[in-house]
Symmetry: D3
Subunit: 341 residues, 6 copies
């Protein structure tokens, strides 16, 4: 079985209950997640071999984070334990015209303070087939950026494919910082995921006008943007993206788009009633990787990825708690929208 190693930060997510705002909350649901951890969990639930690499504190909160990954089948044996704290984010679900919002409390985490040389890639990637990171990881520190570079170096030398979800976070770094850093990493990337503003913010390539209410209408621009990525970084064989028309916090439409070895693929548009609009990009990435690992043809890779992604929008928490057959059912419209009994 092919093995995917993902590398990034894991955080404790605290969410008020029953649509409350943080300011009024006196209970928080506690879940653990993080972009690359989410990808690893989703792959493990699809039956693939997934390992997550990170650093978490050596106390009960760190243990709980690791326990979450283990629970869903992720290999956690290479996670470092130590350092001061686990990053936290407070998640406040929006409604209607009120945006979902996040209060980050991730500074000074064990991962952010970890040193590049703590990660022994020779050992970690020894039997890996894919190395996966998102743009969040290099945004955290120069050490984590160095760690990625070292990993990529190993990958190039050892035929491990590199996957990068650009995943720009405006609260973490500027576009200039992102572009300088990503320009160093992109030459190693085989598969690139780019959504919405990522093209411009992370790579300086214009592909989207910023209006989330009509992303699907800009499909041609996205295709052009994808082609520019491949032009600039010819090592990139695949660029994939989710296009979205977001009407309100609850209502949106999603479509997958991909260029794979110069061929363009897209998917039907899914109208969606959103439960939690987070981590669907990670679900898309995991879905795509599952298709690639299991030798789906490119169209099926993309169909599977977008179906996985829209399923995530119905799930509580950062983790896409669905198995392969559930994704296939959505993808093949086998769900008659009834209670199965």
């Amino acid at each position: 079985m092919k093995k995917v190693v993902t590398f990034g930060e894991m955080m404790l997510r605290l969410k008020p209950q029953e649509n409350e705002r943080i300011i009024q909350a006196n209970q928080f649901s506690a879940l653990y997640g993080g972009s690359e951890a989410n990808v690893a969990v989703s792959l493990a639930l699809f039956g693939d071999q997934a390992q997550f690499v990170s650093k978490v504190p050596a106390h009960a909160v760190g243990e709980a984070a690791i326990g979450t990954l283990r629970r869903y089948g992720v290999d956690t044996s290479q996670i470092l334990q130590g350092g001061p704290r686990l990053g936290i984010y407070f998640f406040e679900k929006g409604a209607s015209v009120r945006n979902t919002s996040v209060v980050y409390d991730r500074a000074g985490s064990s991962f952010a303070l970890s040193q590049a040389d703590e990660y022994d890639w020779n050992r970690i990637l020894a039997d890996a087939d894919y190395f996966y990171f998102s743009g969040i990881t290099p945004a955290i520190s120069s050490e984590t950026t160095q760690a990625i570079l070292a990993a990529c170096q190993y990958c190039v030398e050892n035929q491990v494919k590199v996957v990068c979800d650009l995943n720009y976070r405006g609260k973490m770094w500027t576009t200039t910082q992102a572009q300088v850093t990503m320009d160093k990493l992109m030459p190693y990337v085989d598969i690139c995921l780019a959504n919405d503003e990522d093209f411009e913010a992370s790579l300086g390539i214009k592909a989207f006008d910023g209006d989330m209410s009509r992303g699907i209408e800009q499909k041609a621009d996205f295709i052009a943007g994808m082609k520019k990525i491949i032009e600039k970084y010819p090592n990139v064989q695949t660029v994939a993206s989710v296009l979205r028309n977001i009407k309100s916090v609850e209502d949106s439409q999603w479509m997958g788009l991909m260029i794979n070895h110069d061929q363009v693929y897209d998917t039907p548009v899914y109208p969606i009633h959103v439960w939690e609009g987070v981590a669907a990009g990670d679900a898309f990435g995991a879905g795509l990787m599952h298709g690639i690992i299991n030798n789906f043809d490119p169209q099926k890779q993309l169909d599977f990825a977008i179906a996985a992604s829209v399923l995530k929008l119905t799930i509580s928490g950062d983790l896409n708690l669905v198995n392969e057959s559930e994704v296939l059912a959505v993808m093949n419209k086998q769900n008659g929208m009834r209670v199965m009994r």
Copy 2:
């Protein structure tokens, strides 16, 4: 006051909280219900005389099931107590493209293991006017099928009307098994409820093409199917059905349809935002029975039934916790959709 006796299995329903999946849940809401019990509760809340007959274990879980029925005014004096266990079902509410799903854990229940001769119909039905069962009950065991046959025998001889909701369950028996059994029971039935695939699965009569997203458009086929039922079983005086266009887990349209003494009735189409898409068929049956018992004219019977049914879609749990005036308000569009204060 006319009395309705319903006969079937009652179960413990375990539901994760706040949209969680079973795999991640560590809390379950515990409610008790079951098709025929739901009908009895709804009738009792409408102010009718309703009795439920079944068998539940003689321990705290069985007591809790009985207590639920008593709480809402159902006569539980003829429920047998004994046997090993109460059936359970895990209920996972879906969202958007993710189906609501059910994990049944009902094998080996006290009811499933009960013997036909444990039910003394002479006593139970002594002052009954209607005997109500659904297709779930004969699907449970040959003994429960025998029990229904014995009850029907009594009904025929004592002018008790028999009501059957076909309620086909594909996880419980095959269509062949269902058709063989239902063919023995239908000759006793005065009032028949048939929804969606029930026509074909339970009776072998084609009326619906299986596409839940466009049931209302198939009204003519449903009418034809209803007529075939009456043709085949001339004892049937009434056939009623809910027609549905299901867009997603949350959004659907519902309409009532009925043939009563050869006259066709239908209702306006209700657009609905669904909270829990379960037990609305039972609510429809109870609504119809309430109209019949209280001598509503057939159009009002059907209007009341469909209004009761769409109200159920807004309620947590299997029981339609609404009273008669609330159903009438929906039926008469008296609700201005505002907070009443």
Copy 3:
């Protein structure tokens, strides 16, 4: 900073959890609110100086009510403590075709039994700029009506502006009673809020045909009604209103409308997915007052008010827990409907 004093009753609100009906509930969320208290809290959260005047019992439940106001920055120093009880209302959130409903349990409250002369307006209003009450307060008792009259007298003599939200409550008094009382109070009012049936029920002025599903279409009639108010009570300089098309418990459209010194203003129509359809009128009033206090131009006053109001529909509880920048973001469509991170 300008200071607003609001006067009215505060209540304990008990709400079943997770969409349950009162009849099945065994847990209630406990929140505290009341029309004029809600206005005070919203103003305080906008950074304005707001004081609430009322009477609550001198026990733990009364303390909790006061604590809620203090928590969000309202001056509670003039709230009287004593009397038998805090009014309660049971709040049952509706869904789809099932109306949200309220069971009032407010009779005999400390506020309802308070005497007009317990309120020392000379002291209370000494540094006030605005005095705000809703039609609920005079509906409670003749003593509270007398208290308002005494306050208005003070206002007239001391250049304090009077604001009245007509807020008719059919469960509290008849239209005849309301009209007789309001006719005594209106001559003191500078700013009048009137919604839906308030025009006719409180003032005997026809402006709305009662069909909540098409309020926006009746804009011309509302304008005519507003003009009649100003004609009848020339002291009124501003009349503002929310027009609504309510499709179901979850779905509606809202628009603001105002006459200010003979000029008519309106706002774009907001389509809304409603979380809790209560206290949005209070949020509108607070939004308008915030604009007035801070010298927004009239169009911006109304735009801010309606944006505040639609935000309230996304919040749990009676209090509009949003700050000024959040309202401005909605008003200026700055929300890209994405998670901000």
Copy 4:
């Protein structure tokens, strides 16, 4: 089967969760109870025939109260529905040196405002064997006192035995008021329950020095007090009491004491770890009545009553949710204090 009719008020009990104080609570557990309702429920759970008579409002909260009784098997057919509200009490569980405390909000309830002649005792008591009330009921209003007198009149004339639990409540009336009223009622009483300060507060008979930490040590004084009751009201055949040494909110010792036809009975002393120190007196009363109804000998009556009472101290809510075999197990020390499995 002998039938017991109990008469009194039922209330909604609101309790903060997880040991919170009312002032900090934003969730309340909602349960329904009341002294005489508690007795009826306990008897029904013991398998006896019990009916509760009262008046509750005709809305969802009143329905929920009735539903609670029905759930546990009490006959609710004679409960009147109407009037303004259900009484409420806020229950704050203490701990260690902090007393459990109650905020009453019971004024103006449907029961308190009910008229004596609304209760048709000829019909209500037609097949009753025992009529049970506590001193709370006459404390509520002169009308409820009149209702009791009318019921007692019926009882005397129809060989229905009268049971009175003195149950003095200092927050409801003065000792003078209590003594005047109880002196009118005692001549009808066959069985009298008197605890702690009841002797003096309700009847003016000194039996207890008020020190709850050493009630058991005052056994001789209690016996003397009991004898004085019988002397003064020779119609009383039985006086029963619980003697308590209360060390802290959690820790106490309980013992039963009874004079029955001049014979003194007592029980072993039970050391108890208290979960909720309420309604144990009602549980004692129900336990005694169960023994009497089922012809236990007097010693067994008392043993059963005290065992029922100490079991209640381990239960959440006002209702003693135990069956006969569970009481017998405690009484016979059959519980090996292990998990039964």
Copy 5:
């Protein structure tokens, strides 16, 4: 690292919240456990290599059971998936004089219906050092008994040590059945855990008079019983036991006792305030095994085991969620009973 393989049934445990009884509960905490699974989890948390072998259904509930084990580090790769259901038990925590009680609903489970030959011991035990089962497993079915016998056979032939916790369950089989079966298994056992009535019920050896309130006082009898076990089954090198004085559900005293190669060891007596009195025997077993695996001397093995066991009594659920240093702190009385900060 030494590896322990445990074999048995895993169940879903449903527990009412906040001390409620099953009859009143409408929420259950859902946890997963089972005697041998508990041992495996405890060992994994101590840092040992532990594998659990069983059969669970291939649906979401079965997945959740497996996920629980993985979360805490147990190797689940040899768990079979299939069959109808996961066993369930309803757990009702007692208080004071009210026993903790359990309603079993375990009949017909996937494990109970599994066949002996489904377990391929050659593969499962290939790198095992210890094979651990409790008396519950052979009580489930003759097939599970056969499976144990096959495993023991393998152990004997491959120098894998066999550990048996007698763990008699009176609700599962009679003492006669137990003795016949255990007599076949004991000849394979190297390490035997025997508590309370196990001696007599499982082996017919009298060691305890059945009075749980004075187990510690019977130390001499327990030693005698242990010696008889070794006499009868000379393959047994170690017999260990927990001696208990149980005062009430909350209060008890615990002491460890062991014969190891003819030497008797005991421990100090721990007075304990019990949170949940379940699975402490499994915690004892895991503690002992941890000591054995890590070459603690026998006295330290027993000290560690009893400290682990009393820690379990403070934990929610069946799993002893403590690590080695926490046990050592209790064992060495390093806990000053203060908040560590």
Copy 6:
């Protein structure tokens, strides 16, 4: 009214529910507190004028912290808003032999990063009578230490009394660091609170042998220690302390001890059943300050302080949510340990 200004850090406290461990928790209760904030809240609830000074982040979590203080009447007008984060601590309640434990996550908080010169003591302390800090504040950073020194300087020059609770925290600094720093601060202190190891850890004065199970027995040593403090820092007029015998997490005995102007005072010993063993030292400090502010005689000051302190042990959260009359009731043994009704 005398005014007390307290200065320190406020944190978010996250606590698992129902006795769960952090490692298994998926819900946290969220409360806000901190040693000096707790003192301010307690004083405000006693009716005193209390102000809290600190720095919290300018986002929703910081707002919630401030809101908590305002809710209970503390003046928050001088709290600075800005910086990166609010400190957090995970609170895991122990049981029996398992210690309550805390995972601190307070590094890098807005308060820890605040600069000494951000606090304008001339303004803040303009109308203060007492300045209160604990040893936690100087342990946080050299800047906070400087801020205290600046405040103390102001106090000395302006007749503001300085109160210091030594409150040594071994997880925050070494005893050497503490002693060096405290030695600079003590010369300003008028009233000193010192508990358990504080004497030695903070001041290098031996008064306690470290055995928490027998603190009360060491009363003479504590008195000697107190005298040494006064000897070394003659500006200190009052030294007060809580002496404890801690038997287990739940059970302990507490006693107050004080030297006030050379006179020794003590209190009765309170046996306590502990609900939450945190922040009782803060409650003691607030109780003492309340007595001092309100001119209680020294014996009553100490009696009130210890009664406040033992009440805190029964409360959820860091805040001592009791009023003056509740403390007096405990102090005067007016509580008969019964439900007050």
